[in-house]
């Protein structure tokens, strides 16, 4: 790999890469993110390589395997540059046609185009698709432009020029000031002003300081950090390099979830490439700045997303949080001043340095600047990763980008912020994606999970789901979280199983309030939010469970029974065959029945029935 010793070297290399690429008349960009790989993109990539070989196109057509494009629901995805033709649900069998028709003859393969679900029209390019059109993809757009395992790709789009500018045109103090002026707030959930954190760490006494990238994305339902680290690892590294120089650190750590094997692989490759090109190591770009990064894999503990627990884990210990009497910017990893930022926060840094703080702060709402990446999932049509300007109303995200409900059932709520966040009802969908406004409404942006729920989602069950998760994940160090969450779970379980009493609702609120005031760490303090927010907006559902012993959504197993509707049943026998408990009787072409004594209400028969004949009472 070419050694980059100066800013000039970087510029020359960039020009050379761009020049070398002029020979390509087309580029096939295929998404190789975890989502598309699950949809078997690997087979498509192999087939493309074979076809390019067969047609002798290796010198004139470029194949770029990238990280996540965001529209996971439509994967595997291919974009063909320069026209940005967008093909979705591509299979290996389609590849021959793509090469012979589109690449060689400029013809469009219509059946691979995206169909707008509203108008039914075929859409040719990515930017015309409603899912993408309503977004502002400042960070995510780069995922399509780079192969995460190619430092050349990153350099070709101007990568590491922000680092060069920082090292040679700005003082560390002015970098910190620039981040402060940008009003960037931490994307990991807390929303703490990043510049303030950097300033405190820079001023903290001590020669040895650390920067950490928190890629331990433990929130269930959030995967933006995975996609950024997996799809554009050099962007995160560049952000860390700038931060390290600003605060005076020479060592960085990336703590990444081991459940994200592709992200682990890609960041390892990126670090190795950066070392080989001299962008990590001693005297970076000919300056006096030295910096290197170590990668550590997380052990699968949700609590390690909390800064002090994460640092304990980096030290090889059990991940338990510590009281924050002294902040980690002063007493952090190995008791040294440490700046810990989330993946998306680091990813925002290079653009702020390149374009200036005012360009960043020009986007967003009063207290929340820039854009935010959200994982839009659940009961909606277009699930995927979206990036919007801060301040965008939830309704625009759920309905314009997400396309609304994915079946006949209307959307009922959206859960934001994971286990620390809350559930907001449709009536609150005018609320903007804004740190403070969502917090005031009893939820939070958190790391950006946005799970849409419809009428078949029981809000009491959702509260129970999060409490079960939190009880399982509580590290057990402090009493309020260890005991409080367990007691709350007992009460909610009682309610979902028909033993609830109305006075228990007050007890839940009291426990939640105590938890938020007394728990040791941020995760414990917010652990009651899913319960408190569902009580705030969906109290009626709790009351129906308690008073009528009914679950309106038909989810809570103890409160429902299954039956077969004789009118619509076609006696196909699928349910009988699928039932693992032999609870369904009836011969072919004869009425089927469920034996309630044997039925454990697992719901398998209902999911197998093609005629919606299994009904819930």
């Amino acid at each position: 790999m070419t050694k980059i010793n100066t800013v000039n070297d970087l510029e020359n290399l960039r020009n050379k890469i761009l020049e070398d690429r002029e020979k390509f008349r087309a580029t096939l960009v295929i998404c190789g993110g975890t989502g598309c790989q699950a949809s078997r993109a690997g087979g498509v990539i192999d087939e493309i390589k074979k076809e390019l070989d067969n047609h002798g196109l290796n010198e004139s057509v470029c194949l770029r395997t990238t990280g996540c494009h965001g529209f996971c629901e439509q994967g595997p995805l291919i974009v063909i540059e320069p026209d940005n033709l967008f093909y979705c649900h591509v299979t290996p069998d389609d590849v021959h046609e793509i090469i012979t028709k589109t690449i060689l003859n400029n013809e469009i393969v219509e059946r691979l185009l995206y169909t707008d679900p509203v108008s039914g029209n075929l859409i040719k390019t990515e930017s015309e698709i409603p899912f993408y059109k309503a977004q502002d993809r400042q960070i995510l757009t780069q995922n399509r432009q780079v192969d995460p395992c190619s430092i050349e790709d990153y350099i070709a789009i101007g990568g590491y020029t922000a680092l060069g500018k920082t090292l040679f045109e700005m003082s560390p103090e002015s970098v910190v000031q620039e981040i402060m002026d940008s009003e960037l707030r931490g994307r990991g959930g807390g929303g703490f002003p990043t510049g303030l954190k950097w300033a405190e760490c820079r001023e903290a006494p001590g020669d040895e300081k650390y920067v950490i990238c928190n890629a331990d994305e433990g929130d269930p339902g959030a995967y933006m950090d995975r996609c950024v680290l997996e799809g554009n690892p050099h962007l995160v590294l560049e952000g860390m390099l700038i931060g390290a120089w600003a605060i005076g650190a020479s060592q960085g750590h990336i703590y990444v979830r081991n459940e994200y094997p592709l992200a682990v692989d890609n960041i390892r490759v990126a670090v190795q490439q950066a070392r080989e090109s001299g962008l990590l190591g001693d005297g970076i770009l000919g300056s006096k700045f030295s910096f290197d990064v170590e990668i550590s894999r997380g052990g699968g503990a949700f609590v390690c997303g909390e800064s002090t627990a994460l640092m304990a884990s980096l030290e090889g210990k059990v991940g338990e949080p510590k009281p924050k009497d002294v902040h980690t910017v002063i007493d952090g990893l190995w008791h040294k001043p440490t700046t810990l930022n989330n993946v998306e926060t680091w990813a925002n840094v290079p653009a702020i340095m390149k374009n200036g703080s005012s360009a960043f702060a020009a986007k967003g709402s009063k207290g929340s600047k820039g854009t935010k990446i959200l994982a839009l999932t659940g009961c909606i049509k277009n699930t995927g990763l979206v990036e919007v300007e801060m301040g965008t109303p939830i309704k625009n995200i759920v309905f314009d980008i997400g396309g609304g409900a994915n079946n006949e059932k209307p959307v009922k709520a959206v859960q934001t912020g994971g286990p620390s966040g809350g559930c907001l009802p449709v009536e609150k969908f005018d609320l903007p994606v804004d740190f403070d406004e969502l917090y005031d409404a009893g939820s939070m942006i958190g790391s950006g999970g946005m799970v849409v729920m419809d009428e078949e989602t029981c809000m009491v069950d959702v509260a129970k789901y999060f409490l079960t998760f939190l009880q399982d994940e509580s590290c057990g160090k402090c009493v309020p979280c260890r005991i409080g969450v367990s007691r709350m779970l007992e009460i909610v379980t009682d309610i979902t199983e028909g033993r609830g009493k109305l006075e228990q609702i007050n007890l839940l609120e009291e426990l939640g309030d105590t938890l938020s005031h007394t728990a040791l760490c941020g995760l414990g303090k917010t652990a009651a939010n899913p319960v408190l927010s569902t009580l705030r907006y969906f109290r009626e559902e709790y009351e129906i469970h308690i008073e009528e012993k009914k679950c309106p959504a038909g989810v809570c197993q103890e409160l429902i029974t299954y039956a077969i509707d004789p009118e619509s049943c076609t006696f196909c026998g699928l349910c009988k065959k699928a039932c693992p408990h032999n609870a369904i009787t009836g011969e072919k072409k004869q009425a089927h029945e469920i034996d309630l004594g044997l039925c454990i209400k697992c719901g398998i028969c209902r999911s197998e029935c093609k005629f919606e004949s299994i009904i819930i009472n």
Partner: protein
């Protein structure tokens, strides 16, 4: 565990207590679980008291202290998977193999696990089988997947 393997994992990490989790990750990855004997060796080589090695190995979900089955089926129970019916998948696995998440079948063929989130939320519900992803799962698809793994195993055994 073969000592040569453990040696290569410990290489360049000896006497560095902070490498404990990384070492355990590699052992888990290569051997599927962490035995008592291995913990003793790791304790000695890294200079970490055995009690601390055990406490770390039992605290983090990534580590299994018991051998796992030949096929590991991991059901994602993240929020997005939950609202799209992950419970149904767990019920199917439970009923078909007669084991709950965290358990291994008596014949050692299958281990069922659940994971908080694999980060493929847009394709929920998701199941990973021996590391490969299966999206938009339902009870029927899981039933077929388990059956195909069962028949693959029978085939392999008859070829032995």
């Amino acid at each position: 565990m073969q000592n040569t393997n453990l040696d290569s994992i410990l290489e360049s990490r000896r006497s560095q207590p902070h490498q404990l989790i990384e070492v355990l990750q590699d052992i888990q990855e290569q051997h599927g679980y962490i035995s008592e004997e291995t913990m003793a060796t790791v304790s000695e080589e890294l200079g970490v008291p055995l009690m601390d090695v055990y406490s770390v190995a039992s605290f983090y979900k990534s580590f299994s202290l018991k051998p796992r089955g030949k096929n590991v089926i991991t059901i994602c129970t993240g929020t997005a998977c939950h609202v799209r019916g992950a419970k149904l998948i767990v019920n199917q696995a439970n009923a078909q193999l007669d084991v709950a998440p965290g358990e291994t079948t008596d014949d050692g063929q299958f281990t069922i696990e659940h994971v908080n989130c694999v980060g493929a939320c847009a394709l929920a519900p998701v199941v990973t089988e021996n590391g490969s992803y299966h999206h938009h799962m339902d009870s029927g698809k899981l039933r077929k997947l388990i059956k195909s793994l069962e028949s693959k195993d029978t085939e392999e055994n008859s070829n032995d």
